[in-house]
């Protein structure tokens, strides 16, 4: 559909057709549709998410109109879930929008299996005890969960998923895979066909830097016992050697060669990140292993055998000063090597599938190709369960945050957000929610925070009076701009999880609306 393509053009340029298809297949459940939840869904509905189900048990009152754009005068007295849902539908009619008028807390008790039908659940403004329950349900059913909370000038976003493996991580800056430090025979022999000493100045300044570096490295290795430059002095000397081969001062290709020489100095083999992935015990496969781990197992075999310590070649090269002919030839040499590596991996994947009793064709060629192209950039994210974070927090990290000035506000808010929920569980209102009880609430919140810190193993640590006062001043207010910020972050993470592209956030994001020094806490 042409209109569909034009409408989504600006985002298709980011996550492509496959990412868009993944979004259009996804079904999202939202718990509570105050401004935080409404804004999260708004961003997803605009992008063409498949279906949304809004769950909220409250009726719209006058106060809701002051912070939620998805409601208006006519909504007052009506179910909030219904009103928000119908406005969201207005934004994009290709989205399937549904609502259920029910309090999420009740649904958690009455129908926990309800959540199994969704791809992902977004829980907004949900209190600690319900979050823990929901997390347990979602983990058991393998449903992704995102928790979002806006609270005065603070808030948080947290992902909870057992494991999220990403092939298309699409990092911004990643060293291109030129293999200059470990060239294969075809690249070497192609480099040898090019005359570096050509008397033709036009030809000389159009030799691509890849060729220049491969050839000069060969020359260097001959006089250095087969090793490449490693010390600072050697590297300097190597660059001087490149410079000495320039025929004229304005040769961009030689300048590029000098600038790119660090690629030649890089160590051979795989990164520590990739080493960790191929050493993961999920590589011990069984019939329930995911496609990702099947391919990782094939990759591991490849690296220790045919690859000689290297992963499959990516196959693409960056633009560089060159004649068209040299460049196109070079491109073909890289592509041919990538294709050969892919063939080996593919046959390994098919063999492995057979061994574990799966259909040998159950992973597509396209999927294996994409895996090979991105092998160096694979990322596996794992998130602790909420229960684990609450009962056994990483106390050394917590201590570190508490004493680090850059983190002091953010970690203070983390403690106070949790203390506020404990407070509410005890007193049936949030600290500072009502005007008359401010002074009492401040001292109660302080006591609650101290006891929470004790439970977290941080005895003796106190939070500043200023911060505790601010938290009471916030009185659980949901400020629209804060909700829009938190909702924006939550929707961004949903997109990354659903498209399986880019790298989702790790830890707990604590929003600091005072000076914007927000932080990610790994607890």
């Amino acid at each position: 559909m042409a209109e569909h393509k034009i409408k989504y053009d600006r985002q298709l340029r980011i996550w492509g057709e496959l990412g868009q298809v993944a979004l259009e297949k996804a079904s999202i459940c939202l718990l509570n549709c105050g401004p935080t939840g409404s804004e999260t869904l708004k961003n997803l509905v605009l992008g063409g998410i498949g279906s949304i189900t809004v769950i909220d048990g409250s009726k719209v009152d006058e106060g809701d109109l002051g912070n939620n754009f998805m409601l208006d005068e006519s909504s007052i007295g009506h179910p909030k879930a219904k009103c928000v849902c119908s406005f969201l539908q207005e934004l994009n009619d290709s989205v399937n929008a549904k609502f259920i008028e029910e309090y999420p807390e009740k649904l958690l008790e009455s129908n926990p299996s309800f959540f199994a039908q969704f791809s992902l659940v977004i829980a907004t403004q949900l209190m600690e005890n319900s979050v823990v329950k929901l997390d347990r349900i979602c983990r058991e059913a393998n449903i992704m969960l995102i928790i979002a909370r806006s609270y005065g000038l603070t808030g948080l976003v947290r992902i909870s998923v057992k494991e999220h493996a990403v092939i298309e991580t699409k990092p911004d800056h990643f060293l291109d895979d030129l293999r200059l430090n470990n060239p294969w025979p075809e690249l070497k022999s192609f480099a040898d066909t090019i005359d570096l000493n050509t008397p033709d100045p036009v030809a000389h300044k159009h030799i691509p830097y890849v060729i220049i570096l491969v050839r000069i490295a060969e020359e260097w290795e001959k006089s250095h016992g087969g090793t490449l430059p490693s010390t600072r002095d050697e590297k300097k000397e190597f660059k001087e050697l490149i410079k000495s081969k320039m025929a004229a001062i304005d040769e961009d290709n030689y300048k590029e060669a000098i600038e790119a020489s660090f690629k030649l100095f890089a160590p051979r083999g795989i990164s520590s990140n990739l080493q960790k992935i191929i050493s993961d015990n999920r590589v011990e496969l069984d019939s329930t292993s995911s496609d990702f781990w099947v391919m990782v197992a094939a990759l591991k075999e490849f690296i220790s055998n045919e690859g000689g310590g290297e992963p499959p070649l990516e196959g693409s090269i960056p633009d560089m000063t060159s004649s068209t002919e040299h460049y196109v030839n070079l491109q073909m040499i890289y592509q041919a090597k990538a294709e050969a590596d892919y063939q080996i991996i593919e046959s390994k994947v098919r063999n492995i599938l057979k061994t574990i009793g799966r259909d040998t064709q159950s992973i597509s060629k396209a999927a294996i190709k994409s895996f090979c192209r991105n092998a160096r950039k694979l990322t596996v994210c794992r998130y602790r369960s909420i229960q684990e974070e609450f009962t056994a927090p990483n106390s050394s990290e917590l201590q570190k945050y508490l004493t680090d000035e850059d983190y002091s506000l953010a970690v203070g808010f983390y403690i106070l957000l949790r203390a506020a929920d404990r407070f509410a569980a005890n007193y049936n209102s949030f600290p500072g929610q009502f005007d008359g009880e401010m002074d009492e609430d401040i001292s109660r919140l302080k006591t609650t925070a101290v006891s929470l810190l004790n439970d977290l193993g941080c005895n003796g640590t106190t939070l500043t009076e200023d911060l505790i006062n601010e938290m009471c001043r916030f009185g659980a207010a949901e400020i629209h701009a804060v909700a829009a910020f938190i909702g924006g972050i939550a929707s961004q993470e949903v997109i990354k999880l659903i498209t399986k592209q880019f790298i989702p956030m790790s830890g707990t994001f604590i929003f600091n609306g005072i000076d914007h020094k927000s932080q990610l806490l790994s607890l």
Binding site: N469, F474, I479, A484, K517
Partner: protein, 449 residues
């Protein structure tokens, strides 16, 4: 809240920030209903741009206690806006963005008044901009940012000791996004760096050398730019290329394909052709929402002092994990835009004509064909012809007389400057001081009177 007798008020949530005393707040925070009502009645905010950021900003500001908003945008709604510019629907395509955006927000948030301006930012008199308490920028072009920045900074006045006069500071909040990344910043001219102080944050786009396009194309983009920049002119003579004309775009696409075939270069698609020719920046709803929300929150804080403000530049990157960072950039003391201004010493007899010539020679300005204004009044306009004719007689007058015989003052000069070979229009602030006036000026005035 007591005044509502326990009833739920529409400002239920905002009241917590505006009516209650706070501990981590700005120096002039004075909580209470006066503050809340003051934001409603007396604070006027201009949103520049009604695109991805502008739509969000209007919504966020309308729900942040402000009642008087205006929005300026010269564009009309396109289908490709609909994945993020949530105030627009398919049936709005072709209508002015500013008008539809204003209408939609007013429909939903009662009590808010939004005045749309469907025009270029340069079409407005400088005085138009002086009317606003805060200017919020939701733009995607460096030139437009630079222009608004220079306008806002032109209102800035300095004391004799070069400290900025508080009441002359026109605060700006500025947002920008690209894909999963963005920035939000607060500009308090004279106090924090203005857009021009940190212009290096926006490096100019790298263009392909023409010889690469003509002789050694290697990538799909080279083939596209060859068709767009070289072949089009060869074939179509004087006819200008219009990127919004589908026939033109299709022609470039098919020519690029031919060239790619000829050289064996893969990857030319219609989507890429559009991207390269129009320099399309990928854009999504979520990033716009995040950045606009940060800008709106800062606007609320500047207007109310209800919390500390961002100092002064926030970057957000959501592509690899989630990273936010606040950087405190420093002012360029010699900035021609937000600094005290280029000082020009003049003789009382210097004519306006001579002054314009001096600006062209001034090593820090090099401003040619300048139009001059003083406190919003045009002293000389190079264009349009009708204004030129009206102001021409001033050229032979002494500038000293034209500005009301003040011995020191600021005038604004709009002219062209040459930057890397291309001419761009530029607005400069010029501080003029008349030398040797201490005794003589008084005498002149006495004798004149």
């Amino acid at each position: 809240m007591a005044s509502f007798g326990g009833q739920v008020s529409r400002s239920r949530d905002l009241d917590k920030l505006l009516l209650r005393p706070g501990h981590l707040v700005g120096p002039d925070f004075d909580p209470g209903t006066d503050l809340r009502e003051g934001l409603k009645e007396f604070v006027k905010i201009l949103v520049v741009g009604a695109g991805g950021l502008g739509c969000e900003l209007l919504k966020d500001l309308a729900l942040s206690g402000f009642r008087h908003l205006e929005v300026i945008d010269m564009d009309r709604i396109e289908v490709s806006n609909l994945n993020r510019q949530f105030l627009f629907r398919l049936q709005d395509v072709g209508k002015p963005k500013a008008e539809v955006a204003a209408q939609r927000v007013m429909e939903r948030v009662s009590g808010v008044n939004i005045v749309p301006h469907f025009c270029r930012i340069e079409d407005k008199e400088i005085d138009f901009y002086s009317d606003f308490s805060i200017i919020a920028l939701g733009l995607d072009s460096i030139e437009a940012r630079s222009y608004i920045n220079s306008v806002a900074c032109s209102f800035l006045e300095y004391e004799d000791d070069d400290t900025p006069k508080g009441e002359s500071i026109k605060p700006m909040v500025d947002g920008g996004t690209e894909g999963f990344k963005g920035h939000a910043r607060v500009i308090l001219p004279g106090k924090t760096p203005c857009f021009e102080c940190t212009i290096w944050l926006f490096p100019p786009q790298v263009k392909f050398p023409l010889c690469t396009l003509a002789e050694t194309p290697r990538t799909a983009a080279h083939c596209i730019e060859y068709a767009h920049l070289i072949k089009w002119d060869e074939v179509h003579g004087g006819k200008a290329f219009d990127p919004d004309e589908p026939d033109h775009m299709n022609w470039v696409y098919s020519e690029a394909l031919k060239r790619a075939d000829l050289f064996g270069i893969p990857g030319v698609t219609y989507q890429l052709t559009q991207g390269v020719v129009k320099n399309i920046i990928p854009a999504i709803a979520s990033t716009n929402a995040i950045i606009s929300a940060a800008c709106a929150l800062e606007t609320l804080k500047i207007a109310s002092d209800c919390s500390k403000t961002l100092s002064n530049y926030l970057t957000y990157n959501g592509a690899e994990g989630l990273h936010t960072k606040v950087t405190e950039f420093v002012r360029d003391k010699d900035c021609l835009v937000c600094g005290p201004g280029a000082l020009v010493e003049l003789d009382m007899s210097t004519t306006l004509q001579k002054f314009i010539e001096l600006l062209e020679e001034h090593p820090k300005l090099l401003l040619s064909k300048a139009s001059i204004s003083h406190k919003g009044k045009n002293l000389y306009m190079q264009a349009p012809p009708i204004l030129e004719e009206q102001t021409r007689s001033n050229l032979t007058q002494p500038l000293f007389h034209l500005i009301g015989k003040k011995t020191r003052d600021v005038v604004h000069a709009t002219g062209t400057i040459s930057k890397n070979g291309t001419k761009t229009s530029s607005l400069k602030k010029v501080r003029i001081v008349f030398t040797g006036v201490d005794g003589t000026a008084e005498m002149d005035m006495v004798s004149g009177a």
